[in-house]
Structures are given as C-alpha cells and as structure tokens.
C-alpha cells in the first residue's frame, strides 16, 4: 500500500507576536511594510553617526541591552558580539577597512523569517546594519538578498534614508536563490566573484572576506535584534526570536516567540493541543527530527541539550501518520539534489544515504543498516566546504537517538509510509513561502493554496 500524497498548505497565512510581544520584531500590523517615517516614529535611526571614533561606537554598541548574549540567527548560533569584535581586530591587524554584510539569503525551504524582515521591516535591518558598520568604521555595507521582493523593499528603504556621504554606504546584492547561497563563504565569494558557492575553511570571512578584507557577515534577524536593542525602552536584543511554524496539515504561521518558551505552549497555541505522537523537524533542514516534547525549551542551548539544533528557528510539525524515517529520507534527497555540486564527498554521500534511507521502506537482506547509519553520521562531521554534510550527520544522529524503535521496526518489517511511487515528489511539502502582497491583507485569512512548485535551486518565492 502506498500512502496518498496529501495536499499541504505551504503559503504563510499569518504572522503573530506571542501575547505580550506586540512591540517586538513583528509589531501590531505584521503585513504593513514599515517605512522610514513609521520606523523613526518608534525611535529608530537615532543618532546616526554620533560623535566619537569607531572604538567609542563599538563599546557603545557592545553595551546595548542583551547584545553580549545575542546569538546569531542564521543557524550557527555564534555569539554576535564575538564575531563583531573578531572583525574589528582583524581589520586593525590588516590595516584595511572591514566589510559588513547583512545576510538575507534564506536558503532553508522551511523558513521565511529573513525574507519577511527584508520585505516588511527593512529599516529595522538597515538600522542594525548601519550601527554595526559605523562601529567598525566600514565604508561599505552590503545587503545580500535572494528574492526580488526583498531587493525592491531594501532598495526603496535605502532611497528613503538618503544617507550622508561621509558615513557607510549601503548596497544591495541579489544572489542566486539556492540552498547554499547564504552560507558565509558563499556570501563572500558571491560579493567578490558573483558565484554563490562555499569555499573551504579556514580562512573564515572574519579573516579573509570580500575582496580580501576582513568581513562581518550577520544574518538579517541578528541585525534586527541589534537595532531593537538600541530603540527607546532598550529591549533586550535576544529576548525573542522568529519561528516559521509549519506542518501538521496547518497553514504555516510566522511567530515571534520569547526565547526559551516551552514547545508545549507553542503547540497549544498553534494546534489547540499539545498532544503526544507529534515529531518536529527543527532548524530548517538542519537541526534533526525530535519528538515534540512539551518541555523542549525553544532556545539554542535548550534544543542542543536534547540532541538537535534550533538553527534558523523554524519548526516543521510531523503529525501521525508521518514517518520520521521518511522525512529524514526526503530531506537527504533534497540535499542530494541541492548541494552546491562541488565537493565529491558531499555529492557521493548525500545520494547514497538518500537511496539507503528510501530503501528502509523494504530493507534488503544482508545489509547491516544498523551499523551503516551511525558510521555515516560519524564520517560526515566537519567534512564539507559548507555544513551540508554536517546537516546530514545531525539528521542521522537525531533519528537514531530519538527514534530507535521506529528505526528497528523499519529494519524488521519495512514501512508503508516510506513506500512511494516512482517520480512521487519528495520534498515539495517541506516548503513555506511568503504570501503575495495582495494575499497578506488580513491576518488569519488562510491562503491555503497548495503549492505545486518543487523548490528548485533556481526557484524564487
């Protein structure tokens, strides 16, 4: 028996701040684009280029609320201030001005928060970018985007700003819309040569970046958090995060959540229940599939403690009868297709692992799957030029650690859910897009347009 494919809503239907967070990143009217006047009315773009030198501005930036504890929001959760300081030190050592980049090329098919911010909150991002560029005395700051709506919104926000000639100048760069285009070294390479593909590390961008200069690449949500920490009232920069929540047959919703919220509270809000039997694919395609434990703390350390990674903050819910083995197979199949096609070990391993996971629908005699899967997880760590092989390792480890009985059952007797027709789409349901502008008029209107589109590396959303 083959499970029939279900129509799945993939267009974002709403953007909702958690109760009590009405003044946060999403605000009271999430789908109204915040222009310069609206942003300045809430105290933004203050003290553009205040007195003092870069070092003064850097220490002022460092002392804004919560900045010391702010973790990057692109996926790696690297401390933002540490990265800023490393670039400052690298530039001083090299004697060249650094380059600053706002990274909005959100390759994760299950996350729309960066695209959202660029489209609807461009000034929050630009304010954060300018503050950081001023603190580093960077003459040029790039906004790196991967879709046209973001490019247009940012370009008009820059025009609205009418920046003085003596401060940092802003430029927009539109990258190819691929999974790996947002990886740091791909960002640097794209801005230098036009090719958005990762390069092997070291060196990292803070050492050698755009045109050889030490380069700070910060995710656009990280920059929005930095800007927010500077707004009147001084909200803690890291107090909330954006989470694209999808799956379980519901229309996707973009939430702004308090950092550390228990998953159970989110499930009660989103599904009206916090029942058992649900799994959650965390952090885009990156953080592994975990049982949706109600006490799972939604923070980077919280998810890490339970064997996953919060990554870009997205949560894709898998309600019964969805099978975690099948979903893992689908994600690895996506990687087999959407890797950057440049590392032999990545291309070979993703194809082979995707094929093997698909085989668990009807395991072959004589193959020791139970030994192969952990062995592969160990072999892939730290290997690629980018983190795709690590992502596959995390997926395999999380599957073995969180769902040992499910895996054992597959090995013993196969799985109906994992059987599929030849040519059946594998990852088309693992995708969220922002609504077209006219669809976004009212919060809560389900734009339940099941998307035919298979997200391809060249596709746009």
């Amino acid at each position: 028996m083959v499970a029939p494919p279900l129509p799945v809503p993939t267009t974002l239907s709403a953007a909702r701040p958690w109760p009590g967070l009405a003044d946060g990143l999403l605000g009271r009217d999430p789908f109204a684009r915040e222009d310069r006047d609206a942003y300045e009315a809430r105290g933004g773009h203050r003290d553009r280029r205040p007195a003092g030198d870069g070092a003064d501005r850097l220490s002022r930036l460092a002392s804004s609320p919560g900045l010391g504890a702010l973790l990057g929001r692109g996926g790696a959760a690297f401390p933002a201030l540490t990265k800023i300081r490393a670039v400052a030190a690298g530039a001083a050592r090299a004697g060249v001005p650094p380059v600053v980049v706002a990274n909005g090329a959100e390759g994760e098919p299950l996350s729309v928060k960066d695209r959202y911010l660029l489209r609807y909150r461009p000034h929050l991002v630009l304010d954060g970018l300018l503050s950081v560029a001023e603190a580093l005395d960077a003459p040029v700051a790039h906004v790196y985007v991967a879709d046209r709506a973001a490019q247009e919104s940012v370009a008009s926000a820059i025009a609205e700003l009418d920046l003085p000639a003596r401060g940092p100048q802003l430029r927009v760069f539109t990258a190819q819309d691929t999974y790996v285009a947002g990886e740091e070294t791909a960002v640097v390479r794209a801005l230098t040569t036009g090719i958005a593909r990762p390069t092997d590390k070291p060196p990292r961008p803070f050492q050698v970046g755009v045109g050889g200069a030490p380069t700070l690449v910060l995710n656009v949500e990280t920059l929005a958090c930095i800007a927010r920490a500077g707004l009147p009232g001084g909200q803690d920069g890291g107090s909330t995060f954006l989470a694209t929540v999808s799956g379980a047959g519901r229309s996707p919703v973009l939430y702004e959540l308090p950092t550390g919220l228990p998953l159970g509270a989110l499930l009660s809000e989103h599904l009206g229940r916090a029942d058992s039997g649900i799994d959650v694919l965390v952090g885009g395609f990156f953080g592994g599939i975990l049982p949706a434990w109600p006490d799972l703390e939604l923070s980077h350390p919280g998810v890490l403690r339970r064997g996953g990674s919060l990554g870009c903050g997205s949560l894709h819910l898998l309600a019964p009868p969805a099978c975690p083995v099948r979903t893992t197979a689908d994600v690895v199949a996506y990687y087999a297709r959407h890797n950057a096609g440049q590392c032999g070990m990545c291309m070979a391993s993703t194809s082979a692992i995707a094929a093997t996971l698909a085989e668990l629908a009807d395991p072959r005699e004589g193959v020791n799957y139970a030994a192969l899967l952990p062995r592969w997880a160990a072999q892939l760590r730290g290997r690629g030029a980018c983190a795709v092989p690590d992502a596959v390792a995390v997926l395999l480890r999380a599957l073995l650690r969180s769902h040992p009985q499910v895996v054992t059952r597959h090995l013993a007797s196969g799985c109906d859910q994992c059987r599929r027709e030849p040519g059946e789409p594998r990852w088309g349901h693992l995708f969220v897009s922002l609504p077209a502008d006219d669809e976004a008029a009212a919060d809560g209107v389900p734009a339940a347009r099941a998307r035919e589109l298979v997200p391809s590396a060249g596709g746009t959303r």
């Binding site: 990057g72 692109g74 996926g75 790696a76 959760a77 690297f78 990265k83 990274n103 090329a105 390759g107 994760e108 999974y179 790996v180 947002g182 990886e183 740091e184 960002v187 390069t199 092997d200 590390k201 070291p202 990292r204 690449v217 995710n219 990156f286 990674s309 990554g311 440049q342 590392c343 032999g344 070990m345 990545c346 070979a348 391993s349 082979a352 192969l372 062995r375 592969w376 160990a378 072999q379 892939l380 760590r381 730290g382 290997r383 690629g384 030029a385 980018c386 983190a387 795709v388 092989p389 690590d390 992502a391």
Partner: protein
C-alpha cells in the same frame, strides 16, 4: 599543526592514505579526510610527501589544536 583535506578539490585518488596512513582515512565513498590530530615531528616527512604528491593539491596545513579523531564541526550555513 593539523591537516585539512579540501573537499572541493579531493577526487579520491588516495595517494595520501598510502603515503601517510596515520593522518588520513577514507570514507565509504572513497574520499579522504585528515584525522584531526597534531602531526608529530617524526611524521612530517611522510605528510609533506602526501601534500606534494596529492594530484589535485587538496591537502594543506591548518593552525589550531587537535580535536581528537573527528573533524571539527563546521559553522552552519549563514551564522
């Protein structure tokens, strides 16, 4: 000092594992990885030969402390 095999360049010729078996291993798909251990003085000649003989010059020295047998975790996409 440690070693790193650039995954973009490595074509799996396995010259490195022949010349300096203590510092390289082969994965199930035939590509090499450098074990993340410090290179002892006595191993430098063999390692240098592997670096020079790799047909695609995929091996290089990198700084930093040894992290055990597994490679260091890479940063995830877009920190």
């Amino acid at each position: 000092m440690r070693l790193r095999v650039d995954p973009v360049k490595c074509q799996g010729y396995l010259v490195c594992t022949d010349l300096a078996a203590r510092h390289f291993s082969v994965d199930d798909w035939g590509f090499a990885q450098a074990l993340q251990i410090d290179v002892a003085e006595a191993d430098v000649p063999a390692v240098t030969e592997a670096i020079d003989e790799c047909p695609v010059r995929a091996i290089r020295w990198i700084e930093g402390p040894a992290t055990g047998s597994a490679a260091p975790r890479q940063a995830l996409p877009d920190p």
